[in-house]
Amino acid sequence: MVPTTEAQLSDAVAAAAAGGHRCHVTGRATKTGYGRPVEADAILDLSGLSGIRDYQPDELVVRLGPGTPLAELEAALAEHGQCLAFEPPDLGPLYGEAAGQGSIGGAIACNLSGPRRPRFGAARDHLLGFAAVSGRGELFKAGGQVVKNVSGYDLPKLLAGSFGTLGCLAEVTLRVAGRPAGEATLVVGGCDEIRAVDLLNRLAGGPLEPTGLAYLPAVVAVHAPHPLTASAAVMRFEGPPGSVAARLLHLQAELAGEGALETLEGPASAELWAALRDVASLLPGGARQIWRVVLPPAAGGRVAAALDAALPGCQWLLDWGGGLLWLAIPPKPGAAAELVRAVAGRHGGRATLMRAALELRRTVPVFEPEEPALDALSLRVKRAFDPQGVLNPGRLRAEW
C-alpha cells in the first residue's frame, strides 16, 4: 500500500486492523535493517506522502509529508541559508543502501541526530507537531506549529524514536535553524582515548561553544575523507567566520602542548563531520556488526579502551565528546552483545545493535532491554495507540 493522502493512509490502517493484518511501515525503506525484523504481512509505504507543504523561513518552521526525501528538504532549506540543526545522519549506506535516499519521516521515527546532538538536540527536539494515523486507523494530531507549547501531552517526543510502532506519520512540522556562516575544525593528533576524552570534555564545559567533539583512533582516522595520519581528537566550531577564526586561534594557543595541531577549514571540515555523522569510516571492512553505545560523556574513553581490549579486531570512534561510541566488530554470536552491554552498563551507558545479520537481530535484543516495570509501561503505551499490534510488530520488542 502506497497511500498518497491522509485519508488513504487512515483507510489503509483501518482496513489492516479490521482484516487482522500487520503492517511493515516504511518511509523510503533505507533503514529497514535498523531494529528487530518486522513480522508483517503487508507493507505500508509512506513515500507517497511526500513534499513540502509550508515553509516559513522567517518563522524557522517547515511543514511537510513524512515521505519527503531528506535531501529534498535539506536542499530547500539551503536555498534560504537554513538547515536542520540536529544534523540527521544518512544511515542508508550502513544498511547497504545508496547514499542520500532517506526520508524525513524515517529520521524522526528513528530519532536521528548527528555530531551537534549535545548542543542542539536530536530529531525529538525539533519535531514541533505532527499528524499521524493510530493502529486503529484514526487520524490524529499533536503538538503545534510553534516552538513553545505546553498544550496537552508532548506526543511529538513520544512519536520520535518510536520506529513507527505507535502511529504512521502523515505530516510533520519541524523547526529549522540558520546555517552557520563559517566552520573550521581543529585536529589534535596523537593522543590516546583517555586523554582525548578529557580534553574534549574540558572544551565541552568551556565557553567556546564547539559544535562537534569527536575522537578517531589511528586505524579509523586513516579512513577519514581528509586522511589523518594519527589518532585525532577533532573539534568543530561554527558561526560567523571572524568568531570561528578567533576561537580556533585561542584554542591553538591553549593546546600547543597537547599534540600535533592541524586546522581543517570550510569544505574539508564539513566533509570530515559528514563522514563522522554517517559513521562512514567504520563501514569498509565487510559485514561487521555495528553497535551504537550512548554513555555519560566522561566515560567514553574508558569504555572504548575496555571494549578495544576485550574485542580483538574491533574498530570504533567516539562522538559527542565521548557520549556516543560507534563500534564495529567482526561477526560474532550473541556473546558480543552481553559483553558490550556489560561494559557499557557499568559506566551508565546503553547499547543498540545497529547492524547485524537478520538471524542475530532475531535472537539478540537489538535495543537495550528495559526493567520489567518500564517494559510493561511501554507496552501499555503501545497498546494505547495500537491495541492490535498492527504497526511494525516485532521491531522494538520480540513480544510486541
Partner: protein
C-alpha cells in the same frame, strides 16, 4: 466564574478520617496535615482565583513513602494532586475536595553534582535557581529560567515543561532533562533515562512526562544537564513607534540566523508600568520596546550586536541603546523582570495569559487584543517572549467588583482562541491546568483528545492522579478503548462536561 470540577466522590469524602489515620500510620510524624486551618496553606497555587481544601496534605520524604502513599490511595480509590512549590499559573496544583495533595517540599536535596559529565542529580523539590547556584562556581548553569525560579521547583518544571527568557537559545526543561525517577499511581517505580543524551530504543517516556502536568506520575528524582556560562553578553534596548515595526525587527533577527540569549518585547503600557516601578531608564515615547540579549564567545558577541543593531535601524527603530556592561545589561532586564510586579501596582488583580503564536502574526494579534480590551472593557498590558512567539497579556481587573473576574476570564479565553486561530497554541509555558482546560477543543478534536487520554490510561487507568486538569471531559479508560472516532467526531458528541 465557577469552575466545574469532577463531582466529588462521596465515599472519599466520608472516608476522610480513616484515610488520615491510615496515612498517619504509613508516614513519620509530621508528614500528614489534616487540620482544616493548616490545609488552607495548600488551597490554591499561583492561580489564586480558585481554591479548594483537600482531604489532607502529605509530605513524603522518600521514594518508598511516595510509592506507599500512591498505592494506598489507589487501593482506597482516593485522588492525588501532586504539588511542587505551588507556583503554577494554570491551577495545575489546585486541590480536589475528594483528594489529597502530595507536596514534594521535603524532597529538597541535591544528590550529586557530576562536573565531569556536566549534570546534576536532584530531588524534585529543589528550586530551579538552586541548580544553577550549585554549579555557578564551576562556570556552569542550568538553562531554563522561569521568572519564578527563586521559588519554583525542578519537579514542577518537569510537570510544566517550564521555559523562561533564555529558552530560545538554551531550550526548555524537556531539552535539558536527562533522567528521572517516576512513581506511577499504583506505586510502581520506574527509572527513565540516565546521564546519557539518548536512550537505546525504548519509548521516550521522559519526553512524554515532561509537560504532562502531574497526570502521569510523581517525579521523585531528576537528572538535568548543566551548560557552560557564556563568555560574554551584551544587550540592546530598541524602541519602535509602532508594534508592527518591532515585530518585523524580531522576524528579521530570526531570519538572519541569529539566536539571541533572550528577546523580549513590552508594549507601551508595560513600558510605563516598569519605568514607574523601578526606573530602568526605558524610553517612554515608544509604542514597543525590544530587549535583545546576545551572549556567546567573546569573539562573537560584538559582531552579533552590530548585526542586530543594523537590523533594528533598517526596521525603523526610533531609539537604540546598546551595552556590553553587565550592570547596564541587568538594568535593561530589570524592568522586564519586574513587569509583572509593576503591573500589580496598576490594578488590584490581573490574569496572566500564555498563548504562543507564529511570530509573524504578532502585530495582528496585538490589534485583536486591543479590540478585545475595548469589547470586554478591561485594560490589558502585553509582555512577550518575542523570540519564540510566547505572549503574556496581563488582563487587569478587580476581584472585588462583581463580574470583573468573569469578564477577565472571558477576555482571556478570547485571546487564546485568537492565538489558536492564527496557528498558535493555548499555552507556551504555563500549562493547561484548569485555567485553559475548557479551551482544549479549540486546538484539538475529539480524536486528538481521545488519543491523549488513552496515554493517560496507560499510566493511570483509574484516573486518580490529578483528574479534572488538562482535559475538558473525563472518560473511563474502558470507554476510550472501545471508542471509535472518525473525522474527529465522537459518536456521542455531547458527553457531559464537568
Amino acid at each position: 466564574m465557577t469552575l466545574l470540577m469532577p463531582p466529588p466522590d462521596q465515599a472519599s469524602l466520608d472516608g476522610r478520617e480513616a484515610l488520615v489515620a491510615a496515612l498517619t500510620r504509613l508516614l513519620p510524624a509530621g508528614a500528614v496535615i489534616s487540620n482544616r486551618t493548616a490545609l488552607g496553606a495548600y488551597e490554591c497555587d499561583g492561580l489564586t482565583a480558585y481554591t479548594e481544601k483537600p482531604l489532607a496534605v502529605v509530605l513524603p520524604q522518600t521514594t518508598a513513602e511516595v510509592a506507599a502513599i500512591l498505592a494506598l490511595c489507589s487501593a482506597r480509590g482516593v485522588k492525588v494532586v501532586p504539588r511542587g512549590a505551588g507556583t503554577s499559573l494554570s491551577g495545575g496544583a489546585l486541590p480536589l475536595a475528594d483528594g489529597i495533595v502530595m507536596a514534594m517540599a521535603r524532597f529538597n536535596r541535591i544528590l550529586e553534582v557530576d562536573l565531569a559529565n556536566r549534570c546534576i542529580v536532584a530531588q524534585p523539590g529543589v528550586t530551579n535557581l538552586a541548580l544553577s547556584q550549585a554549579v555557578a562556581a564551576d562556570g556552569l548553569f542550568y538553562g531554563p529560567d522561569p521568572s519564578s525560579q527563586i521559588a519554583c521547583t525542578i519537579g514542577g518544571n518537569v510537570a510544566e515543561n517550564s521555559g523562561g527568557v533564555h529558552c530560545l537559545k538554551y531550550g526548555l526543561t524537556t531539552n535539558n532533562l536527562l533522567g528521572a525517577e517516576l512513581v506511577l499511581m499504583d506505586g510502581t517505580v520506574v527509572r527513565l533515562g540516565g546521564k546519557t543524551l539518548d536512550g537505546a530504543g525504548g519509548y521516550d517516556l521522559l519526553g512524554l512526562i515532561t509537560g504532562s502536568e502531574g497526570l502521569l506520575g510523581v517525579v521523585t528524582e531528576v537528572t538535568v544537564r548543566v551548560l557552560p556560562k557564556p563568555q560574554a553578553a551584551g544587550a540592546l534596548l530598541i524602541g519602535f513607534a509602532d508594534i508592527a515595526a518591532a515585530g518585523a525587527c524580531v522576524a528579521a533577527v530570526i531570519r538572519a540566523g541569529i539566536v539571541p540569549g533572550g528577546m523580549e518585547m513590552m508594549d507601551r503600557a508595560a513600558i510605563h508600568a516598569a519605568e514607574a516601578y523601578c526606573a530602568p531608564g526605558y524610553p517612554l515615547d515608544v509604542a514597543a520596546l525590544l530587549i535583545v540579549v546576545l551572549d556567546g564567545p567573546d569573539s562573537e558577541v560584538p559582531e552579533l550586536m552590530a548585526a542586530v543593531s543594523a537590523i533594528a535601524r533598517a526596521a525603523g527603530a526610533v531609539s537604540l541603546q546598546e551595552t556590553r556592561d553587565d550592570r547596564r545589561r541587568l538594568a535593561f532586564w530589570a524592568g522586564r523582570k519586574a513587569a509583572f510586579s509593576a503591573v500589580g501596582r496598576l490594578s488590584p488583580d490581573y490574569l496572566c495569559m500564555d498563548g504562543t503564536i507564529p511570530r509573524r502574526r504578532l502585530a495582528e494579534i496585538l490589534t485583536t487584543i486591543s479590540a478585545l480590551s475595548a469589547t470586554h472593557d478591561l485594560r490589558c498590558v502585553n509582555v512577550f517572549h518575542a523570540g519564540d512567539g510566547n505572549l503574556h497579556p496581563l488582563i487587569l481587573y478587580d476581584a472585588n467588583v462583581p463580574g470583573e473576574l468573569d469578564r477577565a476570564e472571558a477576555f482571556g479565553a478570547d485571546i487564546l482562541r485568537a492565538c489558536v486561530a492564527v496557528g498558535g497554541v493555548l499555552s507556551g509555558e504555563h500549562g493547561i491546568g484548569v485555567e485553559k482546560r475548557d479551551l482544549m477543543d479549540t486546538m484539538f478534536d475529539a480524536t486528538d483528545l481521545a488519543i491523549q487520554q488513552r496515554v493517560k490510561c496507560a499510566f493511570d487507568p483509574a484516573g486518580r492522579l490529578n483528574p479534572g486538569k488538562v482535559f475538558p471531559t473525563l472518560h473511563r479508560c474502558a470507554e476510550l478503548g472501545r471508542l471509535h472516532v472518525h473525522g474527529g467526531k465522537l459518536r456521542f458528541p455531547d458527553l457531559p462536561r464537568f
